[in-house]
Amino acid sequence: MVGGGGGGALRRVGKYEVGRTIGEGTFAKVKFAQNTETGESVAMKVLDRSSILKHKMVDQIKREISIMKLVRHPNVVRLHEVLASRKKIFIILEFITGGELFDKIIRHGRLSEADARKYFQQLIDGVDFCHSKGVYHRDLKPENLLLDSQGNLKISDFGLSAWPAQGAALLRTTCGTPNYVAPEVLSHKGYDGALADTWSCGVILYVLLAGYLPFDEVDLTTLYGKIETAEYSFPAVFPSGAKSLIRRILDPSPDTEDNEHTFDDEAGPLTLNAFDLIILSQGLNLSALFDRRQDYGKLQNRFLSRKPANVILSSMEVVAQSMGFKTHIRNYKMRVEGPNANKTSHLTIMLQIFEVAPSIFMVELERSAGDTSDYNKFVNNYCSKLDDITWKVSAEKGKSRTSRLSKR
């Protein structure tokens, strides 16, 4: 840690006044900064553009960052914005004052079971929340776990797994070793972010309770070998509940037993049977005979997606919010409310995800308030922004999507 910004003139990046360096790693410096418009203190991570390696997952990362800008969770460090200059990238983060959880363990050794439990619960709470939005950390370790002034855990760098790129990150940790990294990451499989984070949570729980790492070898080859076979042992004194939890998490072949969802047993979207689908037909909706207003009844639109339901949900949420709409989510339903509340009936749309066949989801949009032309405009705009989650079978019917969307 370095003392102050020193004799150098105060620098400005956008609306931020940059102050002293508060942390330094191989690739990034973290500086204290202040938003000159609001006076708010922030942490500014400064990276060289050259340190960002060409990455296969660029689109994924971009998407995650756009989501992270919207995510608010008490145990996740807020990402305010990302700025870039010709040579540098500036990541503006919530300023957290309580230091790293890691330092606490270095200074005081292992934690009591009660403290470890509290931090672990907060960790899982934050991780689960981000996962439910489709964002993965992929580099969870005590150094990324900060403490605020109240002693609450804050997870830093969620969705920033590209900075520095994955390959570099492996060599960057304090010991220069990937002690927290899951076996499938090491084996270079296209890996599952949720699985990798779960593994890391297991290692973190071990560290909190033991005060040292389960996998710790000077020689990298030996270390990799031990991680891949999950070769570790518990200290003589170790809470038995935590032991069995860690054993289930640190399982090197998670494909064989489905324990990656140990803390994610939430029910999926409703499954529609064939008759549920049939009754959606306008041909069965005789109320249209009675309601003769020109913009009658319900206006409905549907699209299909083969993405996981939680990815569909978070994409729909992010897109609606980016259009200035408010969103409320319950289970796999989302209510989207228009921004202009001063109108007598402002646009309100209900969206729901249904599973129509294994891994095939149908999203239904239905207007519950607002006028027809507003609704149609919204649907066209909204659905075009959801293009990358929409499943398009090669259009044998030669109908364009837009003509479908503006039908009725």
Binding site: F275, I278, S281, G283, A288
Partner: protein, 193 residues
Amino acid sequence: MGCASSKQFKRAPRHGDAALLAKETTFSLDEVKALYELFEKISYSIFKDGLIHKEEFQLALFRNSNRKNLFADRIFDLFDMKRNGVIEFDEFVRSLQFFHPDTPMADKIAFAFRLYDLRGTGSIEREELKEMVLAILNESDLLLSDDAVEQMVDQTFKEADLNGDGRIDPDEWKAFTSMNPALLKYMTLPYLK
């Protein structure tokens, strides 16, 4: 039922006929009269002959007289009790009573069953269900692979075809709808009350 007198509804139902309909259906005399106003609007929308033709029915349902729809066809066919290609006022009232909020659930279940029994064989066959699934997918412009459609139909049959004979018979349909009451929601029109 009073089919013989229905041809007299050329212009307006005679009081006696309206009273008979009120007596024989769930509707009150006033409601029958109100239904006549609706019937008149629909039946004079294109052909001006006091009978609802398929095109007029499609126009009323979809605001488009050319929109073909399997389910609208089925409803039309069931409403056209005499099977002469048009819906007369008498048929209109007697059919709409299935959609009345006070009509017993068993009658609604039976009506929906006839609707889905496309070929009138007394049971809903796998092919009929598949045909209906394809129709709703087409209507919604949703393209689903044949495998996925088959899976969906299989799954539904697994739940509904209790004796596994490849057909859903009326008793199985009754059991299935009592497990899935939302399937009959469209069979109740609050407007009719």
